[in-house]
């Protein structure tokens, strides 16, 4: 065995467990040991869980009995906004620093049923708002490729944990790119599923019409395994969708040769030159392997980011109104009830959270709701139609995941410049379509090799096409 157990993929670990070269407890110990050694430097985990010996023993029994669940006995990292019964779920906010989950999120229930183990809860931007984890109330996570740089965000802790082999794989959540962008910055795979594919029950809400839970993993195959384990209709989330809602699923395995749409008009100027070169080179190799490159136009897409930064804060200000020091979380007491609300919210929320709550309150206020929120909602409908039309000509649409590689801490202190980095990822959240980021090599900054990602979007419920093109990209990386 060349690889250390914690460096394995889900597939490798599952097969090593079954060949009896490794016990579940050895795999847990290897991961847990790596976390304890490296986490002080990276701050990927906010809390490291003690070994659950009953769960480890049960998983070992299932493996020995020939259980087919590949996740059985696999240690995973979970973003701090996903509820695990009895564990703190703080969304990296002072507001919920003492909140202990009273139930399991549906995705956690499904992972427990599959026999998976949980190493700890991972760092993130507060309430998932940010692209760097710099907005965590508990200190930023560092990028394992260069600790002077951000890991991306908001699921930066999950991405750094997987990239540094402090977990076999992880769960994150994605509202505007929060799985895909950190996956790209850390050199791993990240999937935002179709809106409604995965239950949001037990996910601390940010933008409810945009949020999806999804996997971060070392390979596309692992991503698929984790996605298959957590997806499915759920009575506890009325927005979950049945299979085939958007038409018959494509034949298993998907088409071998895919038509890749490239919106050239959106790629001018905003992208770093070496990122653009890597993107073009990856597409060239895909074309040589039999995939077809098609020029497409998505004119409304230039407005997607503006629409997103209206709709998202509107939903944030609404969702976070429930945190008022009354029911749970931080409770600061003043003289009157209103003082209690104001003191708790002022003390509990960090700066970026307050900024977005105020922005959301503004775009929803009477007098402005037509100019901002309703207009953004209309843009969203047009955008979705534009993508639907494009998908009559192509199977997937390609972008670089980000315009630049991971930035330095403090480099984007002006909020708008941070928001602009989400330009390629937000559209999938607005349209509800699934999207994946897959590593496409490295660029150099300040003498360090930094990973970069290629991003594909597919029609609703066409995750299979994303896995197919993702595996094709992995092959080009290996050649």
């Amino acid at each position: 065995m060349n690889k250390k157990p914690n460096e394995m993929t889900i597939v490798e670990a599952a097969s090593t467990l079954r060949s009896k070269e490794l016990k579940v407890s050895d795999l847990w110990d290897a991961c847990s040991e790596a976390v304890k050694t490296k986490n002080p430097k990276l701050n990927a985990y906010l809390e490291i869980f003690d070994a659950d010996n009953a769960a480890i023993t049960a998983a070992q029994k299932r493996v020995d009995a020939g259980d087919e669940s590949l996740l059985c006995g696999i240690p995973l990292a979970i973003k701090d906004n996903i509820l695990i019964e009895g564990k703190i779920a703080s969304a990296a906010s002072k507001m919920l620093a003492n909140y202990r989950a009273t139930y399991d999120a549906t995705v956690i229930k499904k992972l427990k049923d599959a026999g998976a183990l949980f190493l700890g809860r991972t760092n993130m931007d507060e309430f998932a708002m940010g692209s760097s984890t710099e907005h965590s109330a508990f200190g930023a996570t560092k990028n394992p490729h260069d600790i002077s740089r951000v890991p991306g965000g908001s699921s930066g802790g999950s991405a750094a944990a997987v990239a540094a082999h402090l977990a076999i794989a992880a769960l994150g959540s994605d509202t505007g790119g929060s799985i895909r962008q950190p996956a790209a910055h850390c050199g791993i795979v990240g999937l935002k599923p179709t809106y409604g594919a995965v239950s949001r029950s037990g996910l601390i809400a940010m933008g409810s019409s945009l949020d999806q839970i999804g996997p971060l993993a070392k390979t596309v195959e692992d991503t698929r395994i984790l996605y298959d384990a957590i997806r499915g209709i759920d009575a506890l989330d009325a927005t979950t969708i049945p299979d085939g809602l958007y038409g018959a699923p494509p034949p298993a395995g998907g088409p071998r040769n895919l038509r890749i749409g490239i919106p050239q008009h959106l790629l001018k100027e905003v992208i770093d030159a070496d990122m653009r070169a890597a993107f073009d080179a990856t597409l060239d190799v895909l074309a040589r392997h039999g995939h077809t490159l098609v020029d497409i136009e998505l004119p409304m897409s230039v407005y997607a980011l503006a629409a997103y930064y209206i709709i998202m804060p509107a939903e944030v200000s609404t969702n976070l109104a429930r945190l008022d020091g009354m029911r749970y979380g931080l409770a600061t007491r003043g003289r009157m009830l209103l003082d209690d609300y104001v003191l708790s919210r002022t003390e509990g929320f960090g700066e970026e959270t307050r900024r977005r709550i105020l922005l959301g309150t503004f775009v929803l206020s009477s007098g402005y709701i037509d100019a901002y929120y309703r207009k953004a909602d209309a843009v969203r409908i047009v955008l979705r139609r534009e993508y639907d039309a494009a998908f009559s000509k192509v199977d997937v649409i390609a972008f670089p995941t980000t315009p630049s590689p991971a930035f330095m801490f403090g480099e984007k202190s002006d909020p708008l410049s941070m928001y602009l980095g989400d330009i390629f990822t937000v559209t999938a959240n607005l349209t509800g379509m699934p999207a994946i980021s897959v590593p496409m090599g490295y660029v150099e900054r300040g003498g360090e090799k930094l990973p970069i990602g290629i991003h594909f979007t597919a029609p609703h419920q066409a995750e299979d096409a994303l896995f197919a093109i993702g595996e094709a990209v992995e092959k080009t990386n290996n050649n």
């Binding site: 407005y303 020091g325 029911r327 409770a331 009157m336 104001v342 922005l359 206020s365 979705r384 708008l416």
Partner: protein, 104 residues
């Protein structure tokens, strides 16, 4: 659309958040830049009836079912209300709340 310091103060009051004077100035400047950016939608000409079309939503219905027995989750939930637990727990798990109406 430009945001003024007065707007930000008002928004903070609506959102039940206190902002310091220094923050008001900072937020006002940042909101100007952000609103300027998102304000590009204003020049967009989108057909008026578009938003009124049937949205791609479905009604989700289910049969009424038997609810769980009353109070089975009460203890677990009230543990998360530390600031509101009555000194002498019991009394049907009631929570102490603050006076709302002022007599002044």
């Amino acid at each position: 659309m430009a945001a003024t310091a007065k707007d930000v103060k008002k928004l903070a009051a609506l959102a039940r958040i206190k902002v310091t004077d220094a923050e008001i100035e900072k937020f006002t400047n940042e909101f100007d830049a952000i609103l300027d950016y998102v304000g590009q939608l204003e020049k967009l000409n989108i057909p008026r009836n578009l938003g009124k079309e049937k949205p791609p939503l479905r009604n989700v219905m289910r049969e009424d079912g038997a609810p769980h027995a009353s109070c089975v989750y009460t203890g677990k939930l009230t543990e998360q209300f530390p600031a509101r637990l009555p000194a002498q727990a019991g009394e049907g798990g009631h929570l102490v709340v603050k006076q709302i109406i002022s007599y002044e």
